[in-house]
Subunit: 195 residues, 2 copies
């Protein structure tokens, strides 16, 4: 993605992506034009096309990657070290708080829908997000159980599915009940007997 | 919805909805016009507006309700009687088979997206679907456990979230792994000790 850019170029590109992300969160992805991004970031058209040769779709893909990173960021510091039950509890709270705050909004979902949910770009971004997320959960499951690799992977996937399900139901109904039920159910087996 | 229609009228309306559903499954909701529905069902414009006064959005809402009913139908006969662990196992297989066959397609999701995911119509249809689904799962949980009403409801919601999560991840990635992991994890506590 950042091939051939200098450190300064990467910083500029990153600044444009962050600003475009804010803009899209505010006014919606369908309503955000290349000109809006240009004005908001005080960049010229040729600068924009230097960093995003395909124009709007390139920017949307970059913003989607940025939003995918935010999804993981919102779960830190817990997601990075799920080696204790306390951390798993903190993680559950962070997930619930994050999605309760977002409510029916889903920045990443809007972006991938605009890119085309079945597009290779959207699919690659979503798959990479799930893979990183799953890997962090697997490490956590392995840290607090004696499960083997297959079992840990299955457990991590079921926890990730619980989050996704609770979130998609929150977005469909505006209700947090499902996420609130799904998180403890999916992680209950990780709780130490003494806790 | 069917207020004021005779039995014959209801049957005609239902025939139009079923045909429109097929058409939309084949060619996509965005590409399906009122004229397409008229031609496919051999009805006149005035007939269509008799049954669907608001035109296209009324038809889409009716088809979305129809597709929501199909979601539950695909889980029968198990969903209607989850009073044994065998039935819970049959249900899991039915859910997995149904969504594996649909793959990345999601008829109901496309319809609610076209109606506007945040529209009162879409929200009412999705909420009603979740409520019926949850009620059936609650009855099943109560039948095979000694859990109280609150616990059963939470368990049912977590199972429903597991399905939704596995499905949304299947749609995002084309992979059934998540649903395959989520279903047994969410229902594992219902398995009798002897099974």
């Amino acid at each position: 993605m950042n091939r051939g850019l200098t450190a300064k170029g990467r910083a500029t590109r990153q600044r444009i992506v962050a600003a475009a992300s804010l803009l899209i969160r505010e006014q919606g992805v369908a309503e955000t034009t290349l000109d809006d991004v240009r004005v908001a970031t005080a960049t010229s058209k040729s600068q924009l096309f230097h960093y995003f040769p395909e124009g709007r779709s390139d920017i949307l893909a970059a913003v989607a990657e940025y939003e995918a990173a935010q999804v993981l960021e919102a779960q830190q510091p817990y997601l990075g070290d799920l080696s204790t039950w306390e951390s798993w509890q903190g993680w559950q709270k962070a997930v619930l708080d994050h999605y309760t705050e977002l409510g029916r909004r889903c920045p990443l979902g809007s972006l991938t829908a605009e890119l085309g949910k079945a597009s290779p770009q959207a699919r690659a971004i979503i798959s990479a997000l799930y893979d990183s997320w799953e890997a962090a959960l697997v490490r956590g499951v392995e840290a607090v159980t004696s499960d083997g690799p297959e079992e840990s992977r299955a457990r991590a996937r079921s926890i990730l599915a619980a989050v996704q399900g609770g979130v998609v139901m929150l977005q469909g109904t505006g209700r947090t009940d499902y996420l609130e039920a799904a998180l403890p159910a999916a992680t209950g087996a990780l709780r130490p007997v003494s806790a």
